[in-house]
Symmetry: C2
Subunit: 260 residues, 2 copies
């Protein structure tokens, strides 16, 4: 059964795209087949996977605004890495919220579009923009679980509360199957007090008990350099701490089942 995973956090810059790109590649190294869906109009997941986005390329924008039979197969592109495919984003996605405002069932568009190809992959990882707009709601409707990168910084910690509220709303009103896979601490820096402090708060907060991954994603410049090179860190800088962390994350992700 395909794991349909939303990678989300309304707080910006917490490492959502880095997690989608690098966890996807690490899972492919484990022999899994993975599809990345880039639902962020900034198309950073495409950039991070070295896929050039051209204007006439079918994208997730077409899937949600002009759903047609078999459209999803045309939108899938392969990457340079075996077992790792992408459905790219498009800048026009930014306007989709207003375009679909009067459409019945607008939150179901992505779920319906992906129905055709779900069985073909072990894992589908969906990147989201830093907002709780229609695009993120579409992803939450298509997903079965949510993986939450949480920067070990104050504002990102505060943002969890709002995110959990939104997930509860979606679960109650739109998608009863949505569960939380877990919270992954990111940008962890052992040397700074604030980072250790926020990690401690995450681990001791009763609301997040049992949800915090053991794996920490440490701040590591190799992750950013790899993004610049359009290659996942596990393929570009195999000996780096970034590569080690995302490989560890892939193993823990496969071992954990979402909390209903």
């Amino acid at each position: 059964k395909t794991r349909m995973v939303a990678v989300a956090n309304e707080k910006g810059g917490v490492g959502k795209t880095a997690m989608v790109v690098n966890l996807a590649a690490a899972l492919a190294l484990e022999g899994k087949t993975v599809l990345v869906v880039d639902m962020d109009p900034q198309h950073n997941a495409g950039t991070g996977l070295g896929v050039e986005i051209t204007d006439n390329m079918p994208s997730v924008y077409d899937l949600i605004t002009d759903p047609g039979a078999g459209a999803v197969r045309k939108a899938v592109v392969s990457t340079k890495w075996k077992g790792l495919d992408l459905i790219p984003s498009h800048i026009d996605l930014a306007g989709a919220e207003i375009e679909l405002v009067d459409e019945e069932g607008r939150e179901n568009r992505l779920k319906e579009a992906l129905a055709d190809i779900i069985g073909h992959y072990d894992v589908v990882l969906m990147d989201t923009p830093p907002s709780l707009s229609l695009l993120t709601i579409n992803v939450f409707t298509a997903a079965l679980e949510v993986l939450i990168p949480c920067q070990t910084q104050p504002y990102a910690f505060h943002a969890l509360e709002g995110l959990f509220d939104t997930i509860a709303d979606v679960k109650a009103e739109i998608n009863d199957d949505l569960a939380i896979c877990g919270i992954v601490p990111t940008f962890f820096d052992q040397r700074t007090r604030i980072s250790r402090d926020i990690l401690e708060r995450l681990r001791s907060d009763a609301r997040y008990r049992g949800l915090v991954f053991d794996t920490l994603i440490r701040t590591n410049t190799a992750v950013a350099e790899s993004a610049d090179a359009g290659r996942p860190v596990v393929n570009h800088r195999t000996g780096s701490s970034g590569a080690a962390d995302f490989k560890a994350l892939a193993k823990e992700f496969l071992a954990r089942r979402p909390h209903p």
Copy 2:
């Protein structure tokens, strides 16, 4: 004449809120009167300024959804620092885009609301969420200049192109007075190649010529610790590199006039 400044960048986590909070406080230390307007539903600017947001407090949400005479004066709260006031955000802002979708002139709501109080301040700094939604457009319509924090990282650099396009669109269609104040490199870390690399690209790119501030905002844990304490770094850790950088930014901001 009051400087009406939007602090914006669609890329998440680049230091928009840190810049609004700390530049505002540094300008107040220079003897200026400053109003912060928090247009991000995550209300991080309020948190960073130590202002407790309670549910029944008037906020910028009331100003744009139910504009009434004199409403803005009721929404202004003072902070602990002389010359530094805030109009807080509210979680309901997240729904404003849909609420206002059929309203004529919905992009002008903030501008109209602020008209009453503009002359009372030297500078108005407006924080924006990491998206180009109606909230950010409202800020661009009320603003006369845009200050752009740009993390010295690959995705943030790529995001500038989209942001410049949006600003050009707003200028052509809604607000002819909107100009670019400048681009401020943030999260600069002299030790990492990627950071030096992106700074070099910013400074040499013909599109951004003359717009990049000399002041660099370095990565400094004191900035994050101060945010956690609800105090600007220039007041909380006065000897830190973060405090030094934001004081230098205030001086350069006052010396620079926006490029029309």
